[in-house]
Symmetry: D2
Amino acid sequence: MKETIAFVGLGNMGAPMARNLAARGFTVRAYDQRMEAREALAAATDATAVASVAEAADGASVLVTMLPDNDHVKSVVIDEGAEALPARSLVIDMSSISPGVARDVHAGLADRGIAFVDAPVSGGTVGAQGGTLTIMAGGEADAFARAKPVLEGMGTTIVHAGGPGMGQVFKLCNQIIVVGNLTAIAEALTLCRAGGGDMERLLEALGGGAAGSWMLQNLAPRMVAGEDDVGFPIDLQLKDLRLVGEAAHAMGVPLPSTSLITALYLSARAHGEGGNGNQAIRKVYDRLADQAPDAKTG
Amino acid sequence: MKETIAFVGLGNMGAPMARNLAARGFTVRAYDQRMEAREALAAATDATAVASVAEAADGASVLVTMLPDNDHVKSVVIDEGAEALPARSLVIDMSSISPGVARDVHAGLADRGIAFVDAPVSGGTVGAQGGTLTIMAGGEADAFARAKPVLEGMGTTIVHAGGPGMGQVFKLCNQIIVVGNLTAIAEALTLCRAGGGDMERLLEALGGGAAGSWMLQNLAPRMVAGEDDVGFPIDLQLKDLRLVGEAAHAMGVPLPSTSLITALYLSARAHGEGGNGNQAIRKVYDRLADQAPDAKTG
Amino acid sequence: MKETIAFVGLGNMGAPMARNLAARGFTVRAYDQRMEAREALAAATDATAVASVAEAADGASVLVTMLPDNDHVKSVVIDEGAEALPARSLVIDMSSISPGVARDVHAGLADRGIAFVDAPVSGGTVGAQGGTLTIMAGGEADAFARAKPVLEGMGTTIVHAGGPGMGQVFKLCNQIIVVGNLTAIAEALTLCRAGGGDMERLLEALGGGAAGSWMLQNLAPRMVAGEDDVGFPIDLQLKDLRLVGEAAHAMGVPLPSTSLITALYLSARAHGEGGNGNQAIRKVYDRLADQAPDAKTG
Amino acid sequence: MKETIAFVGLGNMGAPMARNLAARGFTVRAYDQRMEAREALAAATDATAVASVAEAADGASVLVTMLPDNDHVKSVVIDEGAEALPARSLVIDMSSISPGVARDVHAGLADRGIAFVDAPVSGGTVGAQGGTLTIMAGGEADAFARAKPVLEGMGTTIVHAGGPGMGQVFKLCNQIIVVGNLTAIAEALTLCRAGGGDMERLLEALGGGAAGSWMLQNLAPRMVAGEDDVGFPIDLQLKDLRLVGEAAHAMGVPLPSTSLITALYLSARAHGEGGNGNQAIRKVYDRLADQAPDAKTG
């Protein structure tokens, strides 16, 4: 028989993830502070809507959380969930939070005999809906082994990143590369345009060589076409970049390029691009360079 | 009958490129200021060694140049070659130089009725030797059409980037993305290591997703393994980044991230990595972050 | 009769500040979680050592706090102090914390009828000991007026920065300029040395002109002389830069240069300079540029 | 009797400098490629207008040049002046050019027995008109001694920076600090405004402390007031920053912060601020941060 899962956090990502778990035969007891969110899930699936974290956790063997930020996870998992969860249960936090907070939560649960896996995801709402997320999981080997069947109900690529907190570290590393590559592409397109070049032809020319990447293939054409309203939103990317900054301070590790790029993303948000996809970072370059009265091609 | 080609510049790139042209039936008259370079080529191929640019150009219908920098191209093409070349001949400059200088050379030759194509390459010495270079060519449509059979003797991907100078612009755009992506990968690996993570596992985990790229596939493993002595050298990358900087000033286009990354590449060279491949940029991060007495994982 | 002041936080800054208040006739009830700190103060001054925040606050008309970071202030002021303070009392927080947290604390106290002034300082331990601090105070006009006589017991320049939180904003602005100017001086010295120049002569030459500043006058000579073990420590500067980063995210304001400089300060700390003064940032440049085998003067 | 001076380059700076020399009793033979510039000078002073560099240099014991850039100096001094100057004459180049080019010119003149001093200035058109320039001079001790009375005809602070090229190095160091400090001030003002603060009060509060500087005193109030159309223009600052970039490449010295700031100055120029003073860099921050629909004070 499959486990009984308490699922907390039914937003754009959490709701379809909980639905997929229910569809695969898990007994799901779902909670979100917005009543309409939990009722919508219960109406559409076999999941049961419950009225509190404690009610969800009571009797569940696994608590899965998909929450916005550090404080929500600490509050839901430690302050509310841990009391109600039975001994030897497992918490899987799939939120993107600080590696340090993930380790604190792990330690807090370990004191009570509850196992913990931090398991942030990539793949966005498309991956959440299709159950095709990539999941980067940190935790002890046995906790990971126990979490794996649950994670397989939500994603297709499940990576054991390492010990507690390491799933979050991998997630941040992923974001560092994503924004670094995208910003580089935006700067290349900016130089191309300033030089009078055809940006689409540039992408064609570079796609097959050393500059080639998933981003060049998938998001660069959107940059050129101005298709900004799809994809992983800049607001969420900024949250992850804030976590990178916090981790850099906490670990004492200098990331000069990512720090600068974070400022450029803040500029994008300041200009109302927060709801647009990552590719909208290109517009910051338009603002930096445009309307040049004395620009010369040279 | 194939054209007679004057080929000037027989360095690590130029020598195998000239050899490939000779092997494909072009009549090649080769010059390099180092006598041993031109004699080595003549000994190994059907190419003829000549004693000056003028002698090479005299009677040739195409002049191909593969030279270190702006000044060499101006001097060889305008000061020496243009006098000796017949009317209606064609100059193909395959050096990496400033877009603005390429356009100046184009204009100088046009005054004398000589066509011009700027055709910088990517693919390195491996591509030069195997005749598999990617060539980004700028020039009028008919000049490009005329250059194409010659370029096909040296490369497999021949792109018409646009008008005069645009080959150089595309080349610089390529380098912007290469160093931006590599630096982002280096920062991700730095955070991974500082957080106690396994860098090889990180590359495995990220390779198939949005962070995936040719660089992640090919150079990131070398970063992790410390295989620094292969690939496109940092010294040459810095020359291209200097050209990017010059173009940014000339075109009036701000490239904040590439400007910062150029400083990091200068740091790599300052520490003796100039002869190592691009992936050695990772070592700058070791120097920025290492030996941290109070680093915490957090 | 002068007010009774509860003083919480007797570190390197707080202890001499409390001593100065006692010396000027205020009744001081001092608390620090380290018993030896409060006893040392009581032994050396007229201040009374008490055993808890609540005991200090009970009956005091003013609570002054000088604490390490956001969480300490929230905990001491809101969780502990607010309960014990009488109605119409005043809290003066002299810690450097987030403007947003200062505003939250202000709002939390306002709910209970307690006035609040955020009053971070500059001037370091020398200013704290001599009672010559510069104090940047944020708060309503009447709260500021009431706080002023107390603040004058600790500093000589008392600025009303604006409403609640604005003292903290001014403090962060001060730090942005300090690190920006110092980093610029470090880069100038780096270029000077790389060019074979005499750094002392450079400081002399520039001191009287447009590049002149307090930093050039006071810290630049220490950079040149390698006198790194005095002054405001890099560890504390990094704390303030972390607050700048948090404020930049919270306010949505891009600070590209300060973001980059923060990464350079992290590098300084990673190399063991955390306990040294700000001027030690120069050493990061030595690490970036030194041992250059192929450096040329040019 | 005072020396006969050939003066080449009668722009906004050169014209008043030549006038001051004539007014102090030097025999001045002035040339500029614009005939109206040399005739205007001759009409207003005792200087004689001549028709070529060679005519100016012929019989002069000192050649003073004040020219826009590297190529002009090489051309005027080496290609034209050196032929016409008598043996044992002295060239004083007061242009701002690359340290490496200054050294090349020094070497080229030394071959012909002509002494050389590179002597760039600060103080702007106000200093040129009033004869109150700061002059940073590089050259051998005897060349500097010989140049000094001439330099004292144009400036009040004459610094012997070091050997050949070192005047230029000092000038670039000055500009690094100027733009670094100004950019930091711009970021501080940006944070202040985003936080709802009063920028004038900020300047007052910070002026007397560790953040104090000539720039804070003189240009920061112009930033706040939007008085952008006075002072050293961004176009000229960008020329100097281009020279910094070239020197950084040539000397192999990484200047990450100045590199980034150069990109921000390019952005200012791209938006039409090129003719405005340095303080207009603040406007780039308005463009990065403004119109923030979701900015929060926090």
